[in-house]
Symmetry: C2
């Protein structure tokens, strides 16, 4: 699959570019690429194509792509939709390796447009030519000046080449972030927008950038994922190369998804599934453009990773408190300094607070050497991974540049990252001085700590040898089970569900299906002790709504209970076909969970676990992961739930059978994965968990087929 | 109490200012106030006092405060701590109405400093002179130019007079926010830092600003609240005048509180209590300086309130989705537009998305009149309270000023607020054009929506006729109950607790205290049916840890159970005094809650309610409010919990006795309030809730005295 990613190279690193539909009006869409290629110093060949022009901006203009005298890496197609197919065909015939299509008027307009798009894509595929778009804003390779784009975000064409590879599905959002980043001095290696993704998609570019030596970090803006597995492979490749992937995914709420449908005619998908899938891939998900750029700015610097243990030096006690609060909320630690170190600090500055945060007060305006000494002392501590320094107006007004430079120098000497918060730096002198050393510089202390927390999370994910690896799990479990489910109904009855689950190794209570009051009594006697009676009918999957369940039934009352619930069920749904009544042992346990799986259109089978029974609606305690799970992944997933606390021996409660729950999760996840072509969903609720060694039983089971 | 607030007027609006310890070096702390008073155009009298100078900056310098020829409103004292007391005494004798004390070296340094501070404060109190600080950075009245402050935040002394009254306990944080706000063009009416608050505190200034005609909004930065009731009165006064109060409170986490202790030697208090108390007062709490300034900027504009129903017009579909997502998360609505309106919109621009968000695309760069028409159509809708417009680089690059002005003009004609997100406005021309019409202007769409959500929350709070009014509740319940609790122990035994609760109208199960196995059997028979046995001993408040409880005991097994649990309790705590064994009816119910109260050092008695029993640790579902509660406040509090869903008849569960729970909450809250001088905490867990009409019973009760 790796060579696949390489096939987009002519798009991302072209040596020669034709502009089909080039205009001599450099302010028009057809003229802008020519203008930008000039202005950005592109060293390759530029070939305008337009039958009605002889020359554009001093370059010879060709009547057709076939007339261009040399083989071409990239053609930029700037034509109305109805002429794009022909242009793509001519490019394919001329041996062009890749084409960028700005034109709108394809799949985003509905079925007719989709047909046109597919026609165009299949011509390209047949010729081995890669296509970008349609309906996209193109690309910029900031290191070579290949600016195959239009739009006013390049109205100032000075490029800032950098180490961030950025891929956006939306041209508009891509353009905003481009200008926004430039405004802050953040440089990109490549800037890519993918539009309708007829051929190439976000995953292809992520995979390419994973191997690109000039790219150290990858940022993506997503409205939808087209090929989840391809994205997983690409992101995995990026991580293997030590490159963090930062992402924004929009369309998280129902209202947002409706808006996304109006925008791109694509379902944005279930946000909880997306969140779980992005987290499992190790994509650092952020919520706003500010957060996105904050993190991009950080990882473009010297350190792309950071630990959790923070040392803080501040000139304001109040801001110190604020940052500590936020560290705790962001999952960071602020360890107390050793007593000996605190004593050394107080020798230097008697009135400083030295526990951590270290408050040197505004007095360091007059004694800058104190700041340096404290910063070095903090960086020397084994218990500290990263130091955040807060400097404000009082010390920055006159000597900001000096403080910025000194912070950068000390950070440079240390192997550990130093982050600077410079509050009030309107001219940007502190930022410039510090950034020259690759230091992250923030204005707002809370935003600094939030970015630090986010990077620490992704760092610990990347360093975790047992981190989730869904690709490996799926590879290890590659087979599709032969169709073991024989059913003519979409929703299996409880008896059918349970028979299937039992065959997959998932235990349920002892039970017997009966068809008369007498048999019910006999079954109750055979099971010994109180039993539960349930009317079984695939027409009534929700038995409790029909009151077709009797609890706490004894041998003596079984026959009467049978008649009572059958009568109720008949009243509730006179037309339902009844399959009989299930007599089930009464299972007692200490905790109730829900375990389930369902197939997601984008990510395939997803497993969930959480608090079950009445707690399901009350606390919405659900953790999701991509199926299948191995034992370690199942244990991690369970540990994410609050319900896992129910299994622990606290406050006089007994230790429960956590292992049995994990085994059950593994079984359900494998079943959902192996039967992914047949099974739409599995729900076990409640799963009754008993004491350690006594197991966990799925008391109610519901399977839905596709 | 209102005249009290007025007593700080000479501090906030002085007509004459002396600077005691004035220095002729205008770069020093003693020189800066003189320099700033000149530079900021203060029209009142300026009187430097320093026995070793004849003249400072062309002004006559006086040897002592007594030598100043006229009565003084304000003296700024810039002397070492050991000379402050004498200076305050001289000011008091000279009839000065108020003094600002910059000097550090008082309570923040410990007991000796605290004594000095109290001496100083009592001299001022005796003379009726108000004091500010010590250890503060003074004040600025931006409308009169009274700049009784020092520090580099005024190194650019051009003041931006505005409508935000700002009060900070920290001088450093106050200074940052001052410069930060100025950088963004946000103006203040007053800027105040309060330091150690020996005499006046944040509440005093909030109360004054509530009446100040030039102040429309009040911002506060808090590390601790000294007099909660005074703050409640002041904030209530601000709301009565239609002025929102925005606050940051630091020291929320344990680590943050430790840092706060190191900083100000003051306990920052329990963050959950603070959050509940600030929410109940209607203070809009924000978490970062960015959020704080975002909101200040907004409310300094035309509209200090906003509704929840948002119309969005965007030139980017992607950003539109993002904003809708965030609206939902922020509790805002994005209603679909009426079909007729959508049709009108499509006549104007056929390819626009019109549901809401309305996506006009970058094409409006060429057709700006479309933007205006859409904006006006959105504002006309009855279903829309506020419109957010997103404009980006593509339309702002050339015509930003025009779009800004047009947005402001349309917003000005409409009675409804319009908020603008201008992404990429590096020169600030869009902001300036829009802000001239009082429009809030943001750069990041997510931050815009967050601010909108926050303002909408506080608006709906302010408009709610049934909003919580703790002052009224406390006034209506003013009496302190005579000491009804007679106990020689700090923790009451369950029997003592229950007797006291019963006297306060709080029901428990039927029960009997017995002292022999035989009596236990007799009691079980009398109570009829299964019972619970509990060893009673104030030395063992946590019975379950001692296994000193027996459940499901019948008449037959009662005697044996008695002996068993007494033996266990003796083994567990051989030295414990046993008061007997409680035989209690077995109470069954459908849901378990926890109801409690405890006394907070700052805010007095606090009530809490949440999911009880095993759920307490599992879901930490607790809602807090200030005691006492009336029926309406108790109902609101209960509705904030997830546990309240347990009381509703969903999924086959019965409707439970919500009224009984509310009554119980009211009772507990009144008890905690009336006995606030004796009772430190009350915990009822579990409270068993039965079906509607059957009541709620506190099965376990624990009362702790102070």
């Amino acid at each position: 699959m790796s060579s696949d990613f390489n096939s987009v190279a002519p798009l991302l690193n072209p040596a020669s570019i034709a502009v089909i539909g080039a205009s001599s009006d450099l302010g028009r869409v057809g003229g802008m690429p020519v203008k930008y290629l000039f202005a950005s110093g592109f060293k390759g060949g530029i070939y305008p194509v337009n039958p009605s022009r002889r020359e554009i901006s001093g370059l010879p203009c060709y009547p057709s792509i076939a007339a261009v005298p040399r083989p071409l890496d990239l053609a930029v197609i700037v034509l109305p939709a109805d002429r794009v197919v022909q242009a793509v065909r001519e490019c394919a015939e001329a041996g062009v390796r890749g084409a960028v299509i700005f034109s709108a008027g394809f799949a985003e307009l509905g079925a007719t447009g989709a047909t046109l798009q597919e026609e165009m894509a299949s011509i390209a595929r047949a010729a081995g030519m890669r296509v970008w778009g349609p309906n996209c804003a193109g690309l910029i390779n900031l290191h070579t000046g290949a600016t195959a784009t239009f739009g006013s975000h390049l109205s100032d064409p000075r490029l800032i080449p950098g180490s961030i590879g950025f891929v956006s599905q939306s041209g508009a959002v891509g353009a905003y972030l481009f200008s926004f980043a430039r405004q802050q001095g953040i440089g990109f290696s490549h800037w890519v927008t993918t539009g309708n993704e007829a051929d190439t998609q976000v995953a292809d570019y992520v995979g390419y950038l994973a191997d690109d030596p000039l790219t150290r970090v990858i940022g993506i803006y997503l409205e939808q994922v087209r090929d989840a597995e391809r994205l997983m492979v690409a992101v995995h490749r990026a991580h293997a190369a030590g490159k963090p992937v930062i992402g924004i995914k929009v369309g998280k709420t129902d209202a947002g998804r409706r808006a996304a449908m109006a925008h791109t005619a694509a379902l944005a998908g279930d946000s909880a599934v997306y969140a779980a899938a992005l987290a499992e891939m190790g994509i650092l998900e952020v919520e706003s453009f500010d957060d996105f750029l904050d993190l991009m700015g950080v990882v473009a610097g010297r350190h792309v990773s950071v630990g959790r243990r923070v040392g803080i030096v501040t000139i304001s006690g109040g801001v110190g408190i604020m940052m500590v609060d936020r560290c705790v909320q962001a999952g960071l630690e602020v360890p107390e300094l050793p007593v000996a170190v605190q004593e050394r600090m107080r020798v230097i500055l008697p009135f400083a607070a030295t526990v951590n945060p270290v408050d040197v007060t505004g007095n360091i305006a007059n004694r800058p050497e104190v700041y340096a000494q404290y910063l070095e002392l903090l960086l020397e501590q084994q218990s500290i991974d990263v130091v955040v320094a807060f400097l404000g107006h009082v010390v920055l007004a006159k000597t900001g540049q000096r403080f910025g430079r000194e912070t950068a120098a000390i950070g440079g000497r240390s192997g550990k990252p130093v982050w600077l918060v410079a509050m009030q730096d309107p001219e940007g002198v502190v930022r410039a001085a510090a950034a020259s050393g690759g230091l992250p510089v923030f204005q707002d202390p809370v935003r600094c700590i939030d970015a630090l927390g986010a990077l620490a999370r992704v760092t610990s994910w990347a360093k975790d040898p047992e981190r989730p690896a869904v690709l490996a799990r799926r590879a290890a479990c590659a087979s599709v089970a032969p169709g073991r489910i024989v059913a003519c109904r979409r929703v299996l009855s409880e008896v059918e569900s349970r028979a299937f689950l039992r065959s997959a190794g998932i235990p349920g209570p002892r039970e017997q299906l009966v068809h008369s009051p007498e048999d019910a009594a006999a079954a109750a006697a055979a099971l010994g002790g109180p039993v539960v009676l349930k009317v079984i009918s695939a027409d009534m999957p929700h038995k409790s709504a029909a009151d077709a369940v009797a609890l706490g039934v004894t041998v003596e009352t079984a026959a009467a209970a049978y008649s009572r619930i059958v009568a109720r069920a008949r009243r509730h749904r006179p037309d339902a076909r009844l399959d009989g009544v299930l007599v089930q042992e009464h299972v007692e346990g200490e905790a109730e969970l829900i375990i389930g799986a369902r197939r997601d259109d984008v990510f395939g089978p997803i497993v969930l676990v959480g608090a079950g029974g009445v707690l399901v609606e009350l606390i919405r305690d659900r953790a999701l992961a991509l199926a299948p799970l191995d034992h370690a992944a199942a244990a991690r997933l369970l540990a994410q739930t609050r319900a896992s606390q129910l299994l622990q021996p606290v406050r006089g409660r007994p230790l429960l059978d956590e292992e049995a729950v994990i085994d059950l999760l593994v079984c359900v996840s494998r079943l959902a994965w192996e039967h992914r072509h047949e099974v739409a969903s599995v729900e076990l609720n409640p799963v009754i968990v008993r004491r350690r060694g006594e197991g966990a039983l799925a008391v109610d089971a519901l399977i839905e087929l596709s």
